[in-house]
């Protein structure tokens, strides 16, 4: 009995994110400052990666009023040496939500460049200051924008735009936002530190608000091969995605307007001549092979309408009813809908039906998915109980669901193409671990590519023991697509796998000084939350992590037992050195002798033995 009329308004993406900002990691000043740093640094690294540029990233955080207590406004600036962004795209890229260049299917740190916009939005909400973007794509001219977001309209408002001459390419983004550095500082420093471990080819500097400078210089000169953009794998598909792909693949009946007619005339070489309907058809028949698909469709329509260009100009095609073989059109002259029958025997009939009904299933599969060849496509059609030549445009909703389900279930598809992935590689990973931890022992492994739900992934792992690593291990460093994951580690799949491991079995005991680095690369990391901090335990990923860790643990165990043997030999030598002289002393008196026996021989022999095994251990390490 309510008289209140509910209002339904469409909200803009900006508004949506504004009201749900905690989803994206902007829940409080501490977390927001950290998330903003992440988003900008990751965008900078992604931009450089894509163009194969060795990244130089400079991060600066400055308090607007240093004396004020936290939380307070900070100016966050991230500058890179990447390709920059064309001036014309800048307002849209930084002033709208869901505008990005990252929609292809390949591994990247961020998905749509969405986080950066969120950071800008958050900055604007908390300080009402515009984002300042400086970009140079040619290393000569730099465009500088000050942009505000119109949240309701999801549109950029350019406050200021200037240009100046410059000598370096690259992008610099600067925002003012409310943050709490006293609380977020640790995480941000950890983030920068851990990022430089997984991005050894980047130089990253960080000037913090307290005047401290953290510099991480690149120690690998080769950038890993960039990932390629690929088609989707059939296992990673859903009904909605198929529907969209069909729309993309379907040939529309061209709108027959003046421009279209002009084009048909031109292609037939009849620009200036007005021929009768039959003459046009004759001409078309002769030129058929040279005609484009669009033109052919128009000719086919004309063949059933039996109209010349002049008449054609006065109608509008309404519908092609393939089932009843009827062609409906609107006659402007009579202002009514008319129809003509189509002769299925006509050569033009097929042209039209093909156009409306789209590609055959097998073509659709081979052309639009990765890992499907003609043979597999036919096999699949049989499995899914579809005719191979079935036109995609004729599938009912129910059949689409059936197709989608079968695509998931069919097991003969090859594993997803992993060329869209960009793992770091064993060598740089090992180099990084050695440089960062200076351990006694290091082992790394890159597992072969695998897939979950059609998304390819690769696990890279490293393990290191001793040296400068602090005790209390295993300390786990988690990465996903070259992003360090610092929060919410409790519920992460990597932690689960590590905690499930019985380290005693690998001769790791007590309070061991050891670390584990895990890097999951995928076109889609199954994060548990939008904050991108912990990875869900997908069975396939868990399995690969387990295999990787087992491999490394066995290597560690081999090292530990060598180390244990060396320790034992040393211990034994020490024991001999302690007790043999005592035995000598006692037996000398017992035997009633004056001079002690020459027991040095025994001790020397053993010292040599224990030294030998220490050397062996070193050799093994070097291998």
């Amino acid at each position: 009995m309510s008289s209140i009329k509910e209002k339904f308004n469409q909200i803009s993406p900006s508004e949506f994110f504004y009201s749900n900002r905690d989803l994206a990691g902007f829940s409080n000043p501490t977390r927001s400052l950290y998330t903003a740093v992440r988003e900008f640094v990751e965008n900078a690294l992604d931009a450089c990666d894509q163009k194969g540029i060795l990244p130089d990233v400079h991060l600066t955080i400055k308090a607007v009023e240093p004396e004020k207590p936290d939380p307070k406004p900070y100016i966050l600036t991230v500058k890179d040496n990447g390709p920059g962004i064309d001036a014309e795209h800048i307002p849209l890229a930084f002033g709208t939500v869901l505008y990005g260049s990252k929609f292809g299917l390949k591994q990247a740190r961020g998905m749509f460049g969405l986080g950066a916009t969120m950071a800008i939005l958050y900055g604007q909400i908390t300080t009402n200051k515009p984002v300042i973007v400086k970009s140079s794509v040619d290393g000569e001219i730099q465009n500088q924008f000050e942009i505000l977001l119109d949240i309701q309209k999801n549109k950029p408002v350019i406050v200021k735009h200037t240009t100046k001459e410059i000598s370096k390419k690259g992008l610099s983004v600067s925002i003012c936002l409310e943050g709490d550095y006293s609380k977020a500082g640790n995480k941000i420093r950890d983030y920068v530190y851990e990022t430089s471990l997984i991005t050894p080819y980047a130089s990253i500097t960080f000037d913090d608000p307290k005047g401290q400078k953290f510099t991480h210089t690149r120690f690998v000169k080769d950038i890993p091969p960039p990932p390629t953009i690929i088609k989707p794998h059939p296992h990673g598909i859903d009904v909605e995605r198929i529907r969209r792909m069909i729309v993309e693949s379907q040939f529309e009946i061209p709108t027959i307007d003046d421009a279209m007619i002009e084009k048909v005339r031109k292609d037939l070489g009849l620009s200036l001549k007005n021929l009768s309907f039959t003459s046009i058809m004759d001409k078309a028949k002769k030129k058929w092979k040279t005609l484009s698909r669009q033109v052919r469709v128009v000719i086919a329509l004309m063949s059933f309408l039996k109209m010349d260009f002049e008449k054609l100009n006065k109608i509008k095609i309404e519908d092609l009813d393939i089932a009843n073989k009827k062609l409906f059109y609107w006659d402007f002259g009579d202002s009514q809908s008319k129809s003509v029958d189509m002769d299925p025997e006509s050569q033009y009939y097929k042209q039209l039906t093909n156009t409306v009904q789209g590609e055959p299933l097998t073509t659709f599969l081979t052309k639009r998915f990765q890992r499907i060849g003609p043979t597999t496509a036919v096999k699949f059609a049989e499995f899914a109980k579809f005719k191979p030549e079935r036109r995609m445009g004729t599938l009912s909703n129910q059949e689409l669901v059936q197709l989608s389900d079968s695509l998931q279930k069919f097991e003969d598809f090859m594993a997803p193409d992993s060329s869209c992935l960009a793992p770091l590689g064993e060598e740089p990973l090992e180099k990084g671990i050695k440089k960062f931890f200076n351990p006694d022992f290091t082992a790394v492994v890159q597992r072969p590519a695998s897939a979950y739900s059609g998304f390819p992934f690769i696990i890279e792992m490293g393990i290191a023991y001793g040296g400068e690593i602090k005790s209390g291990g295993p300390h786990v460093y988690r990465y996903a697509n070259r992003i360090p994951l610092l929060y919410d580690e409790g519920s992460d799949v990597v932690l689960k796998v590590v905690n499930d491991t019985d380290w005693g079995r690998y001769k790791v005991k007590g309070d061991p000084p050891f670390i584990i680095v895990s890097h999951i690369c995928s076109t889609r990391i199954p994060y548990k939350t939008a904050g991108k901090e912990n990875v869900a335990d997908r069975q396939e990923i868990e399995r690969e992590l387990r295999l990787g860790l087992q491999f490394l643990s066995r290597k560690l165990a081999a090292y530990m037992s060598k180390r244990g043997q060396a320790d034992m030999a040393k211990k034994r030598a020490n024991l001999y050195a302690k007790y043999i002289p005592l035995i000598a002393e006692f037996c000398t008196e017992l035997a009633g002798k004056k001079k002690e026996p020459n027991y040095k021989k025994i001790l020397e022999e053993n010292a040599v033995e224990s030294k030998k095994s220490v050397e062996e251990e070193k050799e093994i390490e070097n291998k």
Binding site: Y579, I580, L582, F586, C587, L590, A591, K593, Y599
Partner: protein
Amino acid sequence: MKTSKKEQTRIKERSKKADEKQKNILEMLKSHGATIYDDLDNGQFPKFSIPSRSVSNIVYDKKLRQYILGNNAAVRSSRNSAQLRSFTQLMWLAFFANRLTHEKKSSTLRDVYYSSQAFAIEFEDQSESDNIIVDLEAVTSKPREDFHIFPEERSSIFGDLNIEYTIPGYEGKTMNLSNHPDGYSIGPSLTTAELVDTSAEIVIAIEKGGLFTRFVEEQIDKKFKSIIINTGGQAPRSTRTLLKRLHEEMKLPVIVLTDGDVYGEHIAMVIKSGSANAAHLRELTVPDAKWVGVWATDIEKYKLPTIPMTESDIKRCYDLQKDPRYQDGIWKKELDVFLRLKRKAELEAFSKYGLTNITDKYLPQKLELAKSL
């Protein structure tokens, strides 16, 4: 004090005998030391074998009527880092025993534990050092007393027995063991003394100090021409050595009087045939010793006040039933009765019928009975 010529020769002979025993011990230690010295000098890790004292290597010898060690032996090597420490400890102990024997000084088990600390030989606790002492006994087949190492526990002796000391400073001194009514404690000087003569015809070993005092008061030594020994529970080795010597050197029969329970029965058995713990030694048993009471059958016969057995008492009964020495005779019979009664009686239980009931009535009956056992 004047001594006759004959006496002097006798003393000389005696001290010669003691010297010889000491010489043998020293020789043996020396030869062990020399072997190890030579090994070291040749650049080899010294080692020796120790008879295994594990349960599987302890067997009952029916002929000897005691537990002995079987043929299993373990090699203890200084090359083995796990054994190096105990090897060194044993070497030290031999070295220490050598000094004790040389200087004719005695040492308690606890002394050994502390003395070790002067030589950077760490024993974690006394039980570790006690264990090493048993090792030395096993290697040499000699009781620790031969190396002048004694336990603290003391039992006492009273009766007409003349002894002559052999320990330094007392050589030739004599003593009659009925001079002091509290008895004499059985320590190193007594166990090493010569047993000169006695008027006694029997040795009565009694489990409890209280009864020992009663027996002295009641002049059991005179009434029954006996030497009374208080074992203070399970008889210490020095006491068992002395019992053996009284039996063998003075030809005295030994009877044992204990509480009427399974532990008492076993105290008598240990005096008679030793304990599994000392299976590596053979000088500690009096196979002819007789247990005269308090038997389980006595509890009923003399209508003694009883207390119920505890669970551990009953378990002990079942354990002993498996012991080969409890398979026949009164040992088996009494054990079965204990199990049937599930009750026990102490020696003091006789006090119900008057303080002297045990000495006036019970003891004479038992002494009479012992002759026929």
